[in-house]
Symmetry: C2
Subunit: 189 residues, 2 copies
């Protein structure tokens, strides 16, 4: 399964593609869509839409994952971020992909093991988990982390369902997940 | 010249198409894209994108106009509105249309003659200016008002430029515009 992670922003939209194969994540590609600030807003958004469409065409992901944002800064910035985010979401949906959303807390817990991880810790763990030669830049790293988070979440669900099928017992999925998340990342320790 | 006005929202996105022909505005079509609230966000945005694309395909506008929003409510609503607005903007730009933005103040001044106009006054003036049989619903009315605002703004620029060419004098465009906007709407009194 190929997962496309996206970290949307008006100036820089990070993207990262990974493959999940028998419990192992593998790096496929990553980058950032950089949009000049001197263009009209509609043109900037069109650039994000067109480039994400191109990323999907080129790397053919099966599913996508997006960071859920919480905002409490000034309303004008929130509106601009919302516009970029809406563009990314509709681009992915328009390309036929389901869009899963994860909070920064979920992503950090899944990738680093703690919700209080720094940006640098996320970059370092992404480099480690995907066996990259160098530290990925912040935007692609966040996008890759989001994709990894989706891979882990999906894996956990599958494992829990498998246990359920074997034992016939009712499994408390949320609690089970929490325990696993707090420990080391599964399959890439 | 055909103008598509759009009033974006997550639940209801109003649209209105008018034609500007020798200083007269003519009604072509209007409506609202209504999105069920129980769908995932990406699906809701995809619906807005797909339907606006269809509106452009069907009515073939030459240009588009969008209401500029100012937000000071809660950040979560602002983000959601931004997402809907970003989707509408990139849909229009992706369909090859230039997107002009007007503030609510500009639209009300242009259509009603005062920036303090109520929603009902906007609906009434849109009905009057476009010679509609009934009062248009709020969302299509706002979209049509936005399109009418663009028509007036474009007309004024053309007139001022015409005067300039005849007299050879330097025309103070902003002041001229302001005076005309405060009076009755030109060409449809």
């Amino acid at each position: 399964m190929r997962i496309l992670g996206v970290d949307p922003g008006l100036r820089r939209t990070g993207f990262g593609v990974i493959e999940l194969d028998r419990g192992q994540v593998r790096y496929i590609a990553s980058g950032a869509i950089v949009v000049p600030a001197d263009q009209p807003m509609s043109e900037r958004l069109r650039t994000i839409l067109a480039n994400l469409r191109e990323v999907v065409r080129q790397y053919e992901p099966d599913i996508s994952a997006l960071e859920k944002v919480f905002v409490n800064t000034n309303p004008a910035s929130t509106l601009l971020l919302g516009q970029a985010r809406g563009t990314a979401m509709c681009a992915l949906a328009d390309a036929g992909l389901a869009v899963h959303e994860y909070t920064a807390l979920q992503i950090k817990k899944s990738v680093v093991g703690t919700g209080r991880a720094t940006k640098h810790q996320v970059q370092t763990m992404v480099q480690h988990l995907l066996r990259l030669n160098g530290l990925p830049p912040p935007d692609p790293a966040d996008a890759l982390a989001c994709a990894i988070c989706h891979a882990h979440t999906g894996q956990l669900s599958e494992r829990v369902l498998a246990i359920d099928a074997q034992t016939g017992a009712t499994v408390n999925l949320p609690r089970h997940r929490k325990t696993l998340r707090r420990g080391r990342v599964i399959g890439h320790g």
